[in-house]
Amino acid sequence: MTYVGMPTPSETPHETMAKIAGTAARMKVVIVGGGVSGLSAGWWLARSGAEVTVLDKGIVGWEASGRNGGGASHYQSPLFEEEQRMWPHMDALLGYPTEHQQERLVIAVSPKQLNQYHYLAKMNNDMGYRVDLLDGDQVRAMVPLAGDNCLGGMHYRFGGHANPQRSVQAYAWTLQDLGGRIVQHSPVTGFETEGGKVVAVHATSGRYECDAVVVAAGPQIQGLMAKLGVEVPLAAARAEMIVTEPAPMMPIGGVDGNGLYGRQTLRGNLAYGGGPHEWLETFEAGPPARPSSPLTRNLARRVAELFPKAAHLNVIRSWAGIVENTPDGRPIIDRMKDPENVTVVTMSGVGFGLSPASGHAVRDLVVDGQCSFTDIKKLSLSRFDGIGADWREQRGWQPARTEIAA
């Protein structure tokens, strides 16, 4: 499989899988949260021989993991090279289709956008990740739906995208095939600790004994970790997307820009998001609703500007997802000091694409106590030690207006 625009990895994912086999034999791991972060961690741990149980309050991937843009090009992350190494092999490794596609194009319809993209291109090239600059005509040759308004763009010779919903299910199914257990409709309600360790996890469906716990519950991480006396600063917000009926297939489906992220699906639909988010309260039982807003109209406008030749296509749906953010917007992937067998993973806005890599990092933390393939120290929870109680207010990250009962 090709691995473009990137340093050559020293090992194939299949070799990695062979290496970890049996390293966690008989270890009982309970994972709280069946989104991509929890499921990928579960998959990596099961490949290591652990006995994995994933508990979710609803069905797998029902929150952010099944509602996102599917992008997988996170060059800013220490997990980036692992993300790039893994994705082209995920279909084969999981045994179920993820619709992963390689490479991305980002195209500009204003001079300001073009400037921004040139900066990002240089930033990537400096890191050794190949990005080619394109002029308007080059874009139009590669992106049949682009119009005369396109000023140019950039071509990431790496990165890509996949189908979030199919990928979630692929992780879940393959985990079951490996003997892992997925218990749905089973919110976790508390933990039983003994000697500085969590020895059992309590859920509505029962009590689950464990040697290690992974807390991957999205916005609900904050409330769950508080039960263990650990403060994880998180703020939840709503992000929205729209999708059109199918358009003729473009050679590279991963085209975005004009302030949007998204992709053309393998079916041809244009699925895009972007624009203002709304900060929300976090509900312990999960969001009671995930409404969209008239932002749908602003998204429609930007998609029509991005692809003038698709402006006649019908929008068929809008949706929203809730995503949690840390104060600096970066993930937390960390194993706690107390209780010392608890690992936390919250990925903010980049968790889908990075999931094959975040799962690997979590597996390493759970089994070996440290990440084997990259430095993730700057993603530790301790960077927020002493953060004031008013960190949300300082950033203006509070709900827009007072919550009104439905």
Binding site: Q76, Q165, G259, S292, T296, G396
Partner: protein, 486 residues
């Protein structure tokens, strides 16, 4: 410590625009129920806006919006002016409404209702989103009246996915409102009141009715109506069902019944049931309840929203519509083949739906093939939205208008539960397919433009890892943040 000083320029804040206009009352649907409500509002001195999506553009009718037209409309439906005229002609109360000072907008669909509540507080006020053939816009309301009627319930059988298989509500619209039905001889499936009325209407309009097919052993509707049908020499095929619709390039030519009877018709009219049109209520997060005697899911108690007419529920005659349609679904399911299409937009077959298999453009490796609805049900009750995402059934341009109900029935049967044991697949705005350029807000506020970002506008988020906590960090942050308000 933080640069924003307590405000987030990229949060929704107050960026969502105020509505273009405000009314004391907005009524959606200009059938008798909507008109009556609008007139009552106007007589109390309220400012009233009354919208109706009819006449829908010809292209949308081709997508079975809002009813199951089955491609059996004449080219007259392509003539927008004529269509508008026929709508006026067929509904005398429209003129009265205009005389009463009601603002009447035809050819205008309400594609969403947005309300502040749990999960959204950024709206300047509660609004209805509208679109006509030229543009989209939003209006404010004090009172919202939904009179969106009921739509055709479709249940597939071999050959139903071709022109000439349509719904009774669509036929009624083409015959009684548009005078634009392209068929000559029809077979009606079902025998409850609406099926009987449809038979009589078709006959009155000069359409030949070859018969009514009923899965049960007797006509199901009102005895006097059934008698009128009999008196008109229209035969009932009892304890029978369509086994296959056979046709050519123009669609249906013949139907073969389970009993072996072959009937030459150009149109099969599905009159098994009507489904209250609760799309808007559901998409706004409103309450709904299941009531078999009133046609299935109907609106619950929703503050500030009144539902009238068929969308509030069919008249309760003591007949259990849900039980009746489940019986039909079981029978037509038995007559179906593995390759019988369930979702027409995405061409999902019965076998692929029950096997939870992905579309054909994806590989089906061995583990994938080993999965099925049964293995999924072991993980908990089936969720139509989850199945939709995996199989694509209901993910097409019609957003499940044609297959939503039958998929729900199939899932309930597969889970060995009653109809309500499986959650309803969600409706989302826009509840009608609308072109990007129509939906678009071309008059976006400066506030919205300036606050726009691809993602959350948190500059620290995108700094390359190796540069975090180095002098380069600030440089990146500044450069990245400058590009925002794209």
């Amino acid at each position: 410590m933080h640069a924003n000083n307590g405000t987030d320029p990229h949060a929704i804040g107050t960026k969502l625009p105020a509505p273009e206009a405000r009314y004391d009352m907005v009524v959606v649907g200009a059938g008798p129920a909507g008109l009556t409500a609008a007139l009552a509002g106007a007589s109390e001195g309220k400012s009233v806006l009354l919208v109706d999506e009819n006449p829908v553009p010809g292209a949308a009718m081709g997508n079975d919006v809002p009813l199951l037209f089955g491609g059996r409309m004449t080219t007259a439906t392509q003539n927008a002016e004529r269509m508008l005229e026929t709508v006026f002609m067929s509904e005398p109360m429209l003129e009265a409404a205009m005389e009463a000072g009601i603002e009447v907008l035809l050819g205008t669909s309400a594609w969403g209702v947005y309300r502040n509540g749990t999960g959204i507080t950024g709206l300047p006020e509660n609004v209805v989103a509208l679109a006509d053939k030229d543009r989209g816009w939003i209006v404010g309301y004090n009172e919202l009246v939904l009179a969106t009627g009921a739509r055709d319930l479709a249940i597939g059988f071999p050959g139903w996915n071709q022109p000439g298989v349509m719904g009774a509500a669509a036929l009624e619209r083409l015959l009684a409102h548009y005078e634009a039905f392209a068929g000559k001889r029809v077979l009606i499936v079902g025998s409850h009141d609406f099926a009987l009325e449809t038979a009589l209407l078709a006959r009155e309009k000069g359409v030949e009715v070859a018969g009514l097919v009923e899965v049960r052993s007797a006509p199901q509707g009102d005895a006097a109506l059934a008698e009128a049908v009999r008196a008109a020499q229209i035969p009932f095929y009892l304890e029978d069902a369509p086994a296959e619709a056979i046709g050519g390039i123009d669609g249906v030519e013949r139907v073969r019944l389970r009993s072996g009877a072959q009937i030459d018709v150009d149109t099969v009219v599905l009159a098994i049931g009507l489904v209250p049109s609760i799309e808007l209520i559901d998409a706004m997060g409103g309450k709904r309840v299941l009531d078999g005697a009133r046609g299935g899911y109907i609106p619950g108690d929703n503050a500030g929203v009144t539902c009238v007419g068929d969308c509030a529920g069919l008249a309760d005659t003591g007949f259990d519509h849900v039980e009746y349609r489940m019986e039909w679904a079981r029978e037509l399911g038995k007559l179906s083949q593995p390759d019988t299409i369930i979702c027409q937009c995405e061409e999902v077959t019965r076998a692929d739906l029950l096997g939870v298999q992905p579309p054909r453009y994806l590989d089906r490796p061995a583990p994938m093939q080993a999965r099925s609805l049964d293995t999924l049900i072991q993980d908990g009750p089936p969720n139509p939205d989850q199945i939709k995402r995996l199989t694509r059934a209901g993910m097409g341009v019609c957003q499940g208008r044609r297959c939503r109900d039958q998929v729900a029935m199939m899932l309930a049967m597969a889970a060995n539960g009653p109809f309500g044991s499986v959650p309803l697949a969600t409706h989302r705005a826009p509840v009608r397919p609308l072109p990007l350029r129509i939906l678009a807000d071309w008059e976006e506020s400066e506030d919205m433009r300036a606050g726009w970002d691809v993602w959350f506008g948190i500059p620290t988020q995108w700094v390359p890892y190796r540069d975090i906590d180095t002098p380069r960090e600030r440089e990146h942050q500044t450069a990245i943040a400058e590009g925002w308000s794209l």
